[in-house]
Symmetry: C2
Subunit: 187 residues, 2 copies
Amino acid sequence: MSIMETYFKEKFPFSDDEIQLIFSYFKKVEIKKGAYFLEAGQYCKKIAFIEEGAVVFYQLIDGDEKSCGFTFENDWITQYKSLIQNITSELYIKALETTTLMEISLENMLELIAVLPKAIMLRTELAEEYFISSAQRASDLANLEAEEHYYKLIKDNPNLIHRVPQYYLASYLGIKPQSLSRIRAKS
Amino acid sequence: MSIMETYFKEKFPFSDDEIQLIFSYFKKVEIKKGAYFLEAGQYCKKIAFIEEGAVVFYQLIDGDEKSCGFTFENDWITQYKSLIQNITSELYIKALETTTLMEISLENMLELIAVLPKAIMLRTELAEEYFISSAQRASDLANLEAEEHYYKLIKDNPNLIHRVPQYYLASYLGIKPQSLSRIRAKS
DNA sequence: TTTCCTTCTTAACATATGTGAACGATTTTC
DNA sequence: GAAAATCGTTCACATATGTTAAGAAGGAAA
């Protein structure tokens, strides 16, 4: 059983036949470390499930890469704002490791939902997950000091320590890499 | 024509009959300045459109009211996370002014969608609006200095200057009221 | 291995924000 | 209207983060 299949059976109440139908709309894609799932300026017209690997979301501001999120295996990626508003993305989505994806185009997703209305769950799941995590990040950025924020972050997602460069972590926390180094040096 | 009616006709492709049907599921509610639309610990089971007035979303942290958003007339309010996950809210939603709402219970919303499937647009609209605004807030908190953030905020929504107490604005910006005073004193 | 390049760390100093307290100004309550 | 409470401002000092620069550590490529 594939990784995505296991995920689906745990998460959603689809029958085996429905899962097979759903899977027929996806295709497997591999992106090498450092390659892009999406680049700024492009229209995002796809959604993908990470079977293996990790990606970073970032924005290019004054020449610096400012991260706004990370996603690892067993989770979804897309640039939701670009996808739903049909506008160009301001974000890059880049592979931090060689990453295996199950990808579906927006077009195919809509077709799938037309054939199997229950599949709208996937889209809803995605929207809600994105909303809740970004609301949490905003709250943490406003209410926690960088140090608390850092320890909360790596406690909630230990992957971040070893699988994400520190300069991305720093920008995600809203601080400079030197400041993150200083925080880490304390302990 | 009511305020909500004008909003609907501009925003959504519903017919007059559909709008009448939709409106029959809403009821008009007034909350006085300082009263709550929702309090922390409660389950949020409703969605409302503000016809007139203003509300603040805030969290109580160490005795301080930390704002995470403001909504004015012609916009929607709900505690989306509590609503969709059926958990108690961590947020208070309080009227900053005497506020007139058009309210619909979640139950009625689901019934409405069952009767008029197109009405799912309302829910999607809400989710997307919340997601995009909270992603933008997180980005601004991480990437802007307090001063830039403040001027961007009041430029994007001039209502905030005169209709929101400064201590809420300050906590929304992730700073203390004294720091906001200092920033304002510069100009 | 050696070299090169990127990332991480450290340091000194500059700047921004936090803290605690006091004072007026405004609003609310009686 | 008077008293009380709330809110906004200012100040001096403490702390956190930014800036600039240099060097160490680590990984990638020859």
